[in-house]
């Protein structure tokens, strides 16, 4: 890019929506999410020399995005603050389709937040981004076998957590 700011601004404007969508999975706080998006593009700017152009740029941006988000979660894990599921008692709906996607995402986000950062990352990418184990392995630089194992274990953990919090009773409208 040779310090061409205009080119970089064009690149940011082109991909900021996709990166915002991704970073929204890591924090549902608007200010934090915006900060994370900025972090991703700043990191991208200083890593542009390492981009070899073998894969589409968006794949590379997402890879950096996932790593920035994961780092954020690991920092956040020290505070151990998460929203209790009781907060969602009032949410009711007749059918799954009638349920507000934002509310569904909020619940899922709160549920996944109870898992350790690595488990949370695997399930977040699977549930929200519909990533395969192979894609997760590539994005994180992990082995595929490790991702598969982690996915299996984190699903078990998630099931235990959800059952201990009477998840199905609270969201009985999911049929």
């Amino acid at each position: 890019m040779n310090g061409d700011e205009d080119s970089y601004v064009r690149l940011v404007r082109r991909y900021e929506t996709q990166i915002t969508n991704l970073m929204w999975r890591f924090s549902r706080d608007t200010a934090v999410c915006e900060e994370l998006v900025q972090d991703v593009f700043v990191e991208v700017y200083f890593s542009l020399k390492s981009y070899r152009g073998k894969a589409p740029l968006l794949h590379w941006l997402r890879k950096i995005g996932v790593r920035v988000g994961y780092r954020y979660w690991k920092e956040q894990a020290k505070t151990k603050a998460f929203m209790p599921l009781q907060e969602f008692d009032a949410i009711e709906a007749e059918e799954t389709d009638a349920f507000d996607p934002s509310a569904a995402a909020e619940i899922l986000h709160a549920l996944l937040a109870r898992l350790p950062a690595a488990d949370r990352l695997v399930l977040t990418l699977m549930y929200f981004e519909q990533c395969s184990t192979k894609e997760i392995a590539v994005r994180m630089g992990w082995s595929r076998a490790m991702v598969k194992m982690r996915a299996l274990r984190s699903r078990k953990k998630l099931k235990t957590i959800a059952e201990s919090e009477n998840f199905l009773e609270k969201l009985g409208w999911i049929r």
């Binding site: 700043v42 969201l171 999911i174």
Partner: protein, 87 residues
């Protein structure tokens, strides 16, 4: 229904959510500029450190040569002191 199936359905619904829209380009530029200057300063510092290392290597190379030419380096190191006039 199994808990995991319920979570799958919840995820299916959650995927339809639309994330907020930000325009971050200007703020990113504001963050990049000072960091770029910092990188530039680092380059100057690295150049200075490299030049110092080269000079130190040259001095070291000649010092070793001189040291080897001495028959008793320790004694000859102190020898000039004996000749120094104190007043």
């Amino acid at each position: 229904m199994d808990t995991l199936e319920a979570i799958e359905k919840l995820a299916q619904q959650a995927r339809q959510e639309k994330a907020p829209v930000f325009s971050v380009a200007d703020r990113i530029l504001c963050r990049i500029r000072p960091e770029e200057n910092e990188t530039f300063n680092f380059v100057i510092l690295e150049l200075f450190a490299s030049a110092s290392a080269v000079v130190a290597s040259v001095v070291g190379y000649f010092s070793i040569g001189v040291l080897r030419s001495l028959t008793s380096p320790l004694m000859q190191f102190f020898t000039p002191l004996q000749e120094v006039r104190l007043w």
